[in-house]
C-alpha cells in the first residue's frame, strides 16, 4: 500500500499538470482566434469605409470635345470573328515584342472561352500579384 502512494501522488500531479497545460493552450488558441477574427472584422470595415470614397479623381480640366463615332466595322473585317482594329492591335503588339522579322499567318479566337476562363483568370491574378522588374 505504501509503495503505491508515491505512484498515486505522481499520477495526480501529472494529471494536474496536464490540466494546467490544457488550460494554458486553450487560452492561447482563443487569443489567436479572437485576434485574427478581430482583424478580419477590422479589414472588412476598412474595405467598407474605403468603398465610400470615389476611386478616380475627376479631372479639373475642361472636358475635351468628343471624337466622332467611327462607322460600324464592315462585314468583311469580321469574317474570322476579329474586328480589324483588334487585328491591328495584335499585329502592333507582336511587332513590338518580336524584334526579328516575322509574319503573322493566322489569328484565331479561343475556341471554348468557358473551358479556359479559369486558367486565364488564374494567370491574370498571378501576374497581377507580381511586381515586374
Amino acid at each position: 500500500m505504501n509503495s503505491l502512494l508515491p505512484l498515486a501522488t505522481e499520477s495526480i500531479a501529472g494529471h494536474l499538470q496536464f490540466l494546467a497545460n490544457l488550460r494554458y493552450q486553450t487560452v492561447g488558441v482563443m487569443i489567436v482566434m479572437t485576434s485574427l477574427c478581430g482583424l478580419a472584422v477590422l479589414v472588412a470595415l476598412v474595405a467598407k469605409g474605403i468603398s465610400f470614397f470615389p476611386t478616380t479623381k475627376k479631372s479639373l480640366a475642361p472636358e475635351a470635345p468628343k471624337a466622332p463615332v467611327p462607322p460600324a466595322t464592315p462585314a468583311a473585317a469580321l469574317a474570322d470573328g476579329i474586328p480589324a482594329e483588334i487585328r491591328a492591335v495584335i499585329a502592333a503588339a507582336i511587332h513590338v515584342s518580336l524584334k526579328s522579322p516575322h509574319r503573322i499567318l493566322h489569328v484565331e479566337p479561343v475556341q471554348n472561352p468557358q473551358l479556359h476562363a479559369w486558367s486565364v483568370e488564374g494567370r491574370r491574378q498571378i501576374f497581377q500579384s507580381h511586381t515586374f522588374r
Partner: protein
Amino acid sequence: MLKDFLDFFTLTGFPEITWQMPVMWVVCLVLFYLAVYKGFEPLLLVPIAFGALLANLPAPSLTIEPPGPVLSTMSGRLVEWHVAPGAMVKEDDLLATLQSDDLEKPALIEFRSPSHGQLTELTVTPGESLQVGQKLATIFSKEPGGLFYYISRGIEWEIFPPLIFLGVGALTDFGPLLARPITLLLGAAAQLGVAMTFLAASFLGFTAGESASIAIIGGADGPTAIFLTAKLAPHLLPAIAVAAYSYMALVPMIQPPIMRALTTMPERLIRMKSLRKVSKLEKLVFALVVTVFCILLVPAAASLIGMLMLGNFFRECGVTDRLVKASQNEIINVITIFLGTSVGITMTGERFLKPETLLILSLGVIAFSVSTASGVIMAKILNLFLPEKINPLIGSAGVSAVPMAARVSQVEGQRADPTNFLLMHAMGPNVAGVIGTAVIAGYYIATLR
C-alpha cells in the same frame, strides 16, 4: 625527422576528432543530398548543412567567444571554483560548479569556459548567490572571438528572423486575404496543431519553454521557430530548425493524404468566386492596422510583426522601389546565408546526437499534420454558415509555409477538377498563417520567458 612529423601531427585537427564528428558528417551529407538533389528548401538547408559540417570539425577558433568578462547564464549559487586566478584556460574547460534555483534544471551544473586565455580575476566566492548575467570572472587574451561567434549574435540578439520577415513582407501580397478576410480564421485554426503539440511535448517530459519551441514547428514558419527557440530553448535550436525547414519542404508529401481523408469529392469540387480587386489604399491601411493591432495584442512579437509589415508597406506604397528590391533580394539573401550557417554551427554532435532530437522530429510531423487537419476542418465548419462556400482544400494552407502550402491546395484542387484554380484563394489563409504563428509565438514568449 619522424619526431618533427609526429609533433606536427599533434598540432593538426586529426587527434581532436571525436566519434560524434563522423556521424554528424553523415547527417550533413544527408542534408546536402536532400537540398541539392531533392530540392528540399535548398536556400536554407545548404547553409545549415555547411554550418553543421564546420561545427563538426575540430576548429574551435570558429565559434570561440572573445576574452573578457565571464557572465553567469543562470540564477542560483556558486558551489566551488575548479581553477585559480592566473590559470590559463581553454574553451570548454571546467571553471566552476553552480547550483541552479530553477526546479526544471538539474541541481548542480558544470560551468565551462566560453573562451581561452588567462583567468585574471574571480569576482564571486563559493556560497554566494548568482543572477543571470552577473560577472563571475575575467579572461584575458589578445586573440579576438571566432567568426561564427559574431555571426551568431544575429540569432541571439534577435536580429536575423525579423530581417527575414522584412523580406517576406516585401514579397507577400496580402490582396487575396483582404479580398476574403474570413480566410484569416483558417490561418488561426491551423495554430491548433501548435497547441496540441505543446501538450504532447509537455506530456513527454519537455519543459514549458522546450514544448513551446517544439510546438511552433507546426506553424511551418522557419524564422518564427528560430526566433521563439532562441528565446525559450536555445539548446534545442539545431534540431528544431532542421525539423522546421525539412518538414516545410515535405509539405507536398505530408498534407495531401490528410486533405483527401478529411474532404469528400463534392467538397473538393467547390469552385470559389473570383477574388475582387483590392485597392492600394486598402493594402496600405491593412499594413498599418495589423502593425498597431498585433503589437498592442502581443508586444513580444513586435519585431517580427513590425518588420513583416514594414516590408509589405514598402511593397504596396509604390514610392520605395529601391527599398523593396533590396528587401526582396539583397537583404533577405544575405541574412539567409548568415541565419542558415549560424543555425548549422550550433549542430555539434554533442547537442544533436541525442534521443530528444528524434522525439523533436516526430513531434514536428504531428504538429504539421494536426495544423493541416485543423485548417481543413475549420473550412468545413465555416461552410455550414457561409452562403458562398469555400473549398476546404484551401484550409490546409493555413500552415504558413508560403507559398508551398497554397501550391499544395492548388494541386489537390486540380486533381479533383483540372479547371479549378485555387492558388490565389489559398494564398489568403497562407499569409494569415504567418500572422497567426507570430501571434501564438508572441503569446508563448510573453507568458513563458
